[in-house]
Subunit: 367 residues, 2 copies
Amino acid sequence: MAILAPSRRLRRTPFSEGVEAAGVKAYTVYNHMLLPTVFRSVEEDYHHLKSAVQVWDVAVERQVELRGPDAGRLMQMLTPRDLRRMLPGQCYYVPIVDETGGMLNDPVAVKLSEDRWWISIADSDLLFWVKGLALGYRLDVLVDEPDVSPLAVQGPKADELMARVFGDRVRDVRFFKFDHFDFQGRDLVIARSGYSKQGGFEIYVEGEDLGMPLWNALFEAGKDLDVHAGCPNLIERIEGGLLSFGNDMTDDNTPHECGLGKFCNTHTAIGCVGRDALLRVAKEGPVQQIRALSIEGPAVPGCDRWWPLWSGKKRVGRVSSAAWSPDFKTNVAVGMVRLSHWDDGDEVTVETPDGMRKAVVHEKFWI
Amino acid sequence: MAILAPSRRLRRTPFSEGVEAAGVKAYTVYNHMLLPTVFRSVEEDYHHLKSAVQVWDVAVERQVELRGPDAGRLMQMLTPRDLRRMLPGQCYYVPIVDETGGMLNDPVAVKLSEDRWWISIADSDLLFWVKGLALGYRLDVLVDEPDVSPLAVQGPKADELMARVFGDRVRDVRFFKFDHFDFQGRDLVIARSGYSKQGGFEIYVEGEDLGMPLWNALFEAGKDLDVHAGCPNLIERIEGGLLSFGNDMTDDNTPHECGLGKFCNTHTAIGCVGRDALLRVAKEGPVQQIRALSIEGPAVPGCDRWWPLWSGKKRVGRVSSAAWSPDFKTNVAVGMVRLSHWDDGDEVTVETPDGMRKAVVHEKFWI
């Protein structure tokens, strides 16, 4: 177990005080910021997430704000997903690609108004890409990272907890929609979204001074709901097929390889960067794709590097995330698999640090 | 002490195997990659660095490669430093700023030829900024991250160790110059540079397969020189006034605030982004600047957030890096100090997690 050396460069969040008091055991670093990964144990956190309600410090989902007359035009340049019918109050999961169609990030776009957007990012400095494009194309838009830190409330009892703090109206917010709510006289954007399949919300906390008051209010209101501090859970997110940029995909991969072809409307998303490359990909189809895999045998070790996938002596892909699933009684994994072996039920061999293991390819995750 | 959770997203390096075998005790994360921070102890590593020779895995200094007819033009767009007299074989420390003059990175530019450059970056995805500009300005240049991982050899015995592996010609490489050397039939760029004041080299290892063979060759050749695995040392780099992007400066700061005004030739660096903003800054001068500070009392705790600087009830700056210096018998620190209190000898108060401490501002670091 390696120690993480503290420094200012690994930024704390508006909720760090609460996270520490809740006994965080491990962190990862994400967008130059601390992201908790374990509170009690990954397995205990997993069972609790599926049965109760957790509050997650996901301030690492930094926002890139676009503001100005060209905000909408720039947003459409950034993604091959067609945004023409998107309305204020909606959130869209949007692959973002470079001119060759390689993934740069897979954020959620939040349309605040016609001329104001937030892009809630995965782990890469997307701000630099957006600023570079805005400057190079001389667009009339301001691009920066505002003082906004998402706090997620996830789990089957999320609606109940949120209603106690924000009123029953929060129950009406539909999936990937958001509305505005008051907390201590301040206006907050709250969306029904989050990096789990257990349901819940993400609160876009605007103003770091509001972080701990909101954290404390949620814990105070949720005592009898067994509310706990939590974090994106490795096992649950693999079961649910939630991809992780940097783990499961990199800028080497197209959205189509990542199973995100359905978010690419390359024929209608006029003006998007990477359109030519993606039209070609859409025509020919990818030669490898992300798949669920179950790995036989006892619990695998932590997956801190790509594990090669073999079929005999032929390399047919790699595993990028893996964990033992207590509910499904198998090792669940995410991998990139070559066309020749990506059909449901195909058998392959995984080269883990503990040796070779048999694995089975699945077209669907555990949902 | 927090644990760092392993994942593929925190990339290993071509030297990780050697780093682990050498008993690394802690890491930080830098450019989505593992950077060792401690081997024996920060203090023991410090004394050893100043007296012997160390091999550092600084693969986190990722390269942004510019290649093509517009490579030189793009490089000059990126920095306010005048590059017109720079020759192939030279390295330049170059502040990189956005259109408002805010720092995006403080890398070393390596001019391989007129149409091919490497930018050896600090901790931010500079690749995204460079790619965005290249695309927006429709430049004829290829921009990507090549398979190049720097390995540093630092310390007073660095010349001796390097000469044993690469021949005596390596002794002739002058400061911030580079030359080409052979290792196992492969051509490697070696520069006299590195993130310490103890002298030494950075080897740009092209091809990850060469990582461990080179690592092993250096350790084999240096046995009688007491060669050890090392890493950028917090104490030594503060004493030497080596700044850390993300710690001591962010995109809120101009190069002039960071004491890097001498690298800004805003009158002659025609075409650089941020020129208008920096001309204004150069005319008026900054209102705050980076300074060395000595903090009184016993060893300070780890500086994982900005520590406010006070003069009475007036906030006059912040400390961003601090450590106890065994050689200078004081806490050495880096801070951003307001104009009113930045003169040599000015006294201020630092708000540390352990309470208020007296501190003295210095115009020079401990070199």
